[in-house]
Every structure is written in structure tokens, then in C-alpha cells.
Amino acid sequence: MAHRKFTVEVLTPEGEAFAGEVEMVSTRTTLGQIGILANHAPLLATLEPTELRLYTSESQILRFAQAEGYLQVGGNHAMLLVEEAVEPGSLDAAKLQARLEEAERELDAAGDDTEKRRVVERDKRRAQAFLQIAEAG
């Protein structure tokens, strides 16, 4: 079953990670896992760290480890703004593990209901998601 294609752009602060036509985009918003097909209703959403999958054809899937970001869909075009989009192969599991542990230590030290706590929690979620991708890949 071939799907209709639509254009997708993945932008990071360091430049464009992907631009082209795909059949489906699979990622995770703050509310949960989401799959975007052609002619999706207009949407603006916040993205959470996860594995981003771009189905360029039935058999071809591009994978990225994606940090927090935003997703904008409309006019048969999807734009993903993410802080980072790296190939799963270039992730370093040991480094991520170390960062996760550091985040946990900092979390113990951070006072309740401070901005610092919120920051560290976000760091931890990200390290966790990336670590999962690194271990799965």
C-alpha cells in the first residue's frame, strides 16, 4: 500500500537535518506518540525527546534521535524544529549514561520547586530517551 507523499523539513539550530518528501512522520508530542500522513489537519505541537522516524518509502525509514522541539503541520507540509537531530549510530551510550547519572545527582541536590530543578528534570528526560535509542540501535 503506497501512501501519498508530502514535504517535511527538519530544522535544528545547527542547520537543516532533513528536507524532502516522505510518506509518514512518526514522533512524540507532549501528549503522546503521533504519526503524520499526507493531508493531516493543521497542528502545532511541542515535541519530546524520542526517536524520530521518517518513512521515505514503504521500506526505507530514516531515524534520528530527536531532542525537544516543535511540530507545525499545515498545507500538506510538516515542519519540525528540534534542538538536536542526530543519527542513532553516532550516539555514545556510555556518555549518555554518565550524563543521566549526573542529572540524577543534581536532582537530589536541587531544591524543590526551583527553576534549577525543572532544568535538570528536562536534562534527565532527554538523556533517558537518547540512551534508550542508543541501546536499541
Partner: protein
């Protein structure tokens, strides 16, 4: 007068230095090009964030929510100063002019009754400030050759936490703005509180001195398909999305400053090393002249001795 051998040794030493400075100049030139490309690469992302913010703000019933980083503190007793410079020297006035401007800004705040709280990005400004006996609230080092977005986020989040948790009542950033490979200007911008006006301004130029940091300097890129027709769905609510988008402005501002500072650093180093190479060239010319003179003097001396000897015999 120095002997021929002394002068020759000095010439070869200066030649070695010239080789090194020329190599450093070329390395800096290559890195400068990469740094320029990275400034360019940030632009589409920053523009897209801005468009998204406008869209979410239109949809939000109450406009942009009153976030802590947007609201001014009633009393300004402590001002955070973030000095952005490099990890390494040999770049002319690149590092020292930031430290000088930072200390001057601190004095200015003291005169107005607010205590400066210093933050530093780069080993050089951190070391200079410690040397002057200034205590640093935090320093961030090890990435000024090639700053990543994550570095900017770390710095921005530390500053926002300091602002929200009442450690400081205002935050200013000082960095070398990149104008061209041979020209850098010290920029001083207010980072926090974030100016609400800068969030929604679609175009605008931040090239001037005391602009709010959020206004960047970019224009909306045309050509992209406009993706607004029917009323979109929001996941979560527009207000929640804005709660995430607004702090990103601070991160982007810091990232832009880091990138510009890096480009400026490579530009400044390139110029400094080119001057050093030129100076070495001049020095070699002078020394060669001196060596020739010494050689000629020695020859003349020898001839006079031979002539005197011949006369003595004859």
C-alpha cells in the same frame, strides 16, 4: 656588534616563528569560514521559532502568558553580567576588550546602586576576572572553538534559573559582535527580563548597541510555503506551547552570541597572526641587512689586513 653567526641564528628563529604564525593564520581562516556558516544555519531556525510564536500568541486567548522571565523585578539590586569570550589567547584585543567592557559595566551598575554578579563563558575572561579578584557566579568553558546549542542552553538555563530564583534582577550579555573578518564590535544587550515586544516583532534589526537581545537581526525568510489556513489544533494548548517557546528565545540569543563571538575570535586571531607574520618578515629583512653589513665589515677588515701586511713586506 653581533657576529654573523648570532645574526644568522636569530634569522632562523624568526623564520620559525613566521612559519607558525602563518599556519595559525590559515587555521583561523578555515575555522572562520565554518563559524560564518553556522551563524547562517541558525537563521532559518530562529525565524521559524519566531513565526510559530506569533501563531501561538494569536491563538492564545490572553496572548503571551506572564512568564517569570518576562516580568521585570521591582527592584534591581543585583545585575548579572555574562562575559562571552574565548578559551585561548593570541587573538589581539578579542578577550581583553570584553573583560574591560564587563568591568566598566559592573562599575556603572555599582554607581547606580546595583551589585554586579559575573558569569563568564570562555577560559580567558574567567581567568582575567579571577585574577582581578572578582568572584564568578559561574563559568562555562571548553567549547568556544565550536559552541553547540546544548552549551547555549546550559548557559541560558543557568541564567534564567538565577533570574527566576531571585539570584539576580537583570541579566546583561557582553560579547564580540561579528561584523566582518577584520572588524568586531563589543555588544552589550539585555538578556533578562526578556522584552515582550521582541517576541512578536516579525522583522527588525538588532545591529545597534543596546537592543533587547531577542530581536536578533534577521528578516523573515520568504519562499517557504505559508502553512496557515484552517484553524490548527494545538497540542497542548497555545498557552502551554508559548511557555516552552518563550525561554527558547533566551537560548537562541545566547547561542547567537556564542556563534558570533566564535567567528569574531577566529577573525581576530587571523588578523593578529597576519600582523605577526608581516612583522616577522620585516624583522627578517632588517636582520638580513645587519648580517650582510657584518659580513662586509669582516671582508673589508680582512682586505685591510692583507693590504697592510703586503705593505709591511714591500
Amino acid at each position: 656588534m653581533a657576529s654573523q653567526r648570532d645574526v644568522r641564528n636569530r634569522i632562523s628563529a624568526v623564520k620559525n616563528i613566521q612559519t607558525i604564525t602563518r599556519a595559525m593564520e590559515m587555521v583561523a581562516a578555515a575555522r572562520l569560514r565554518r563559524a560564518e556558516q553556522r551563524i547562517e544555519a541558525l537563521r532559518p531556525y530562529a525565524d521559524a521559532i519566531r513565526r510559530m510564536t506569533s501563531q501561538a500568541a494569536e491563538a492564545a486567548a490572553a496572548g503571551v502568558p506572564k512568564l517569570p522571565i518576562l516580568s521585570e523585578h521591582a527592584q534591581v539590586a543585583r545585575v548579572g553580567l555574562l562575559l562571552v569570550a574565548g578559551d585561548r589567547g593570541l587573538a589581539g584585543a578579542f578577550n581583553s576588550q570584553i573583560v574591560r567592557a564587563g568591568v566598566a559595566a559592573g562599575r556603572q551598575h555599582e554607581a547606580q546602586g546595583a551589585a554586579p554578579v559575573y558569569f563568564a563563558s570562555g577560559r580567558r575572561p574567567a581567568a582575567s576576572l579571577s585574577f582581578r579578584g572578582v568572584e564568578l557566579a559561574a563559568s562555562f568553558t571548553g567549547f568556544t572553538d565550536r559552541p553547540a546549542y546544548a552549551d547555549a542552553r546550559r548557559i541560558a538555563e543557568r541564567l534564567m534559573a538565577a533570574y527566576v530564583d531571585d539570584e539576580v534582577d537583570r541579566v546583561e550579555i557582553l560579547y564580540n559582535g561579528y561584523v566582518s573578518p577584520i572588524s568586531q564590535v563589543v555588544r552589550r544587550e539585555t538578556l533578562l527580563p526578556l522584552q515582550q515586544a521582541s517576541l512578536l516583532a516579525d522583522a527588525g534589526d538588532g545591529a545597534g548597541g543596546e537592543q533587547p537581545a531577542g530581536t536578533g537581526g534577521e528578516q523573515a525568510t520568504g519562499g517557504r510555503p505559508r502553512t496557515r489556513r484552517a484553524t490548527p489544533d494545538y497540542e497542548p494548548s497555545p498557552e502551554e506551547i508559548l511557555r516552552r517557546l518563550v525561554p527558547d528565545y533566551v537560548v537562541i540569543s545566547v547561542f547567537r552570541a556564542l556563534l558570533e563571538s566564535t567567528a569574531s575570535e577566529h577573525g581576530a586571531r587571523m588578523t593578529a597572526m597576519r600582523n605577526a607574520t608581516d612583522n616577522a618578515g620585516t624583522l627578517i629583512e632588517d636582520l638580513t641587512l645587519q648580517m650582510n653589513r657584518a659580513r662586509q665589515a669582516a671582508i673589508t677588515q680582512e682586505i685591510m689586513e692583507v693590504v697592510a701586511g703586503a705593505e709591511g713586506i714591500g
